[in-house]
């Protein structure tokens, strides 16, 4: 174990290095490049002795190669961003449909046009229904830890699905933070060697991903159930993780929720800023708390309902936009609460597109508006970054 100062990209590379993948197909894209460069340097320096490292000609080829390698039983890692993830899009469904436990880091970046290099969450939320398990990290330590947990979930026989670990570009990918690097021994204890059960080999010919007729529904239903299984499996994994590494993660991150009347729902790195703002507002007597979505798929609806059982008003803060609809997570939260005994008022705020900074002042402004909404009984949907609402 060691404690070092590294970027989110390097934390993702460390996560991959510690699980000793057999294959890493790559294609560079800002802001992911440093992750791949780090792995490439380690390969040259001899720190990834059992890993084949291959530079492909596009992200579509990267995911295709990842699928081929995973189908013959290799442990596979890759990383991408933004337009690269979009180019992978059709192949992502093949990875999940063939039930291949690939783990990929996505360093989120807004989508073109116009071009931005900065983060928002549209790139990976556009893959929401691809059948991948989707995690979203708040800081660099969590990036590394989510990759370790990601392989455990992906390779669990009750799951067997690919996992995407998302982090915010720049805010995490290019920011140095203290990160604890676990030892190989502890990682081996947490995660025994991968023993693939269903592989393509010349000795035992099978067909995977073939054209089917009525069975199509069965395949999709099984993949759905496998994703739901991940919620149960994840609980055990989080227990094991705490025993071995001493860090506790919950499927949903709850911050000062117990007596909170106002609740902010956030994702990713802006949650850190929101927590700082909440600590200050608490000193002023505002009963505000935060729920951070760490696991986007499978959707932990019951856990969210339980966490929000005392809330009176909720602000869903979306760093994404579904044009013609609004924020993507707002309807997911509203649907979830529709089945709850407690139905708080829900307002939606669209913020931070293309990396627009989310400051403590902005979080406080959202909280004030939410308090107004609770007083008036009228929820709002607002682009918080614009002067006009």
């Amino acid at each position: 174990m060691k404690h070092i100062l590294i970027t989110g990209n390097e934390a993702a590379a460390w996560g991959a290095r510690l699980v000793e993948p057999q294959f890493i197909p790559t294609f560079p894209i800002t802001p992911q490049t440093e992750c791949i460069e780090t792995l490439a340097r380690w390969k040259v320096e001899g720190d990834l002795p059992g890993t084949d490292f291959e530079r492909m000609e596009s992200e579509h080829s990267v995911m295709s190669a990842a699928i081929g390698a995973a189908a013959v039983g290799a442990r596979v890692f890759t990383a991408t961003s933004s337009q690269g993830l979009m180019l992978m899009h059709e192949v992502l469904y093949i990875a999940s449909g063939m039930r291949l436990p690939i783990v990929m880091a996505n360093i989120s970046r807004g989508l073109s046009a116009p071009v931005t290099l900065w983060s928002d969450h549209n790139d990976f939320l556009d893959q929401r229904d691809s059948g991948w398990i989707m995690f979203h990290a708040e800081n660099n330590q969590e990036v590394l830890d989510m990759i370790l947990q990601g392989y455990r979930v992906a390779e669990d026989p009750k799951v067997l699905l690919p996992v995407m670990v998302n982090m915010d570009g720049y805010v995490l990918s290019f920011t140095d933070e203290p990160v604890i690097i676990p030892s190989y021994e502890d990682v081996k204890q947490f995660m025994p060697a991968y023993d693939p059960q269903h592989t393509i080999t010349p000795d035992r010919p099978v067909t995977v991903g073939p054209p089917v007729m009525d069975e199509y529904t069965d395949y999709k239903a099984q993949a759905h159930l496998a994703s739901r299984n991940a919620l149960t499996v994840l609980k055990d994994i989080q227990d094991d993780f705490e025993k071995i590494f001493g860090r506790r993660y919950h499927t949903v991150d709850e911050f000062m929720l117990d007596d909170a009347e106002l609740v902010l729902i956030t994702q990713g790195s802006m949650s850190t800023t929101a927590k700082a703002a909440i600590l200050e507002m608490r000193e002023e007597g505002v009963k505000v708390g935060l729920l951070r979505l760490r696991v986007i798929r499978p959707w932990p609806g019951e856990i969210i309902c339980k966490a929000l059982q005392n809330a009176k008003a909720i602000a869903v803060i979306d760093r994404n936009i579904a044009p013609g609809k609004g924020g993507i997570m707002l309807p997911e939260i509203v649907e979830t609460l529709y089945h709850s005994n407690n139905r708080p008022l829900v307002s939606g705020f669209i913020v931070g597109l293309g990396g627009k900074p989310q400051t403590e002042a902005r979080i406080k402004e959202i909280t004030r508006k939410l308090a107004d909404d609770l007083a008036s009984g009228r929820p709002r949907i607002e682009w918080n970054d614009l002067e006009v609402s």
Partner: protein, 177 residues
Amino acid sequence: MYKIRIHGRGGQGAKKAAKIIGQAAFDMGKQVQDFALYGAERRGAPVMSFVRIDDNPILERGYIDDPDVVIVLDKALLEIVNVSAGLDENGLLIINSEHEPVLDTPAVVKHIDATTIALEIIGKPIFNTIMLGALAKFTNIISKDALDRAVEEELSKYPDKIIKANKDAVKKCYEVA
């Protein structure tokens, strides 16, 4: 929390300077966050980098608009960037300049001719690390020893000769600042 903002131009090593400050403070047992702000940047364009240092875990993120210290690597930036933005009377601004700069700021302003030191000792106008000697001299946020170790670690991929020249130049800057 202690907040540092560095102004430079693409290619002058503002990002590296932030990383070295971060590494030095981390080495001293502090909580640290350092990063650079850039888009599709190219050599010569104004860039910024930032360091936050604290005894407790750091919850703030993003651009620093209320710094304790501002370091300016290139004096010509004064004409196009408001480098002293957010500095109050407790603030410190350290600028790479052979002359005392004229600046409208309540902060204490120090100048050091890092370019000349760089040309004398390193033989090239590379002054990002050298400026940190002045930071160690004027503040107690990073010690001279921690800075030395951080320079060595962050430049470890370069030949020993370059590392030594940088360390000598940092020492010179510390002495004359």
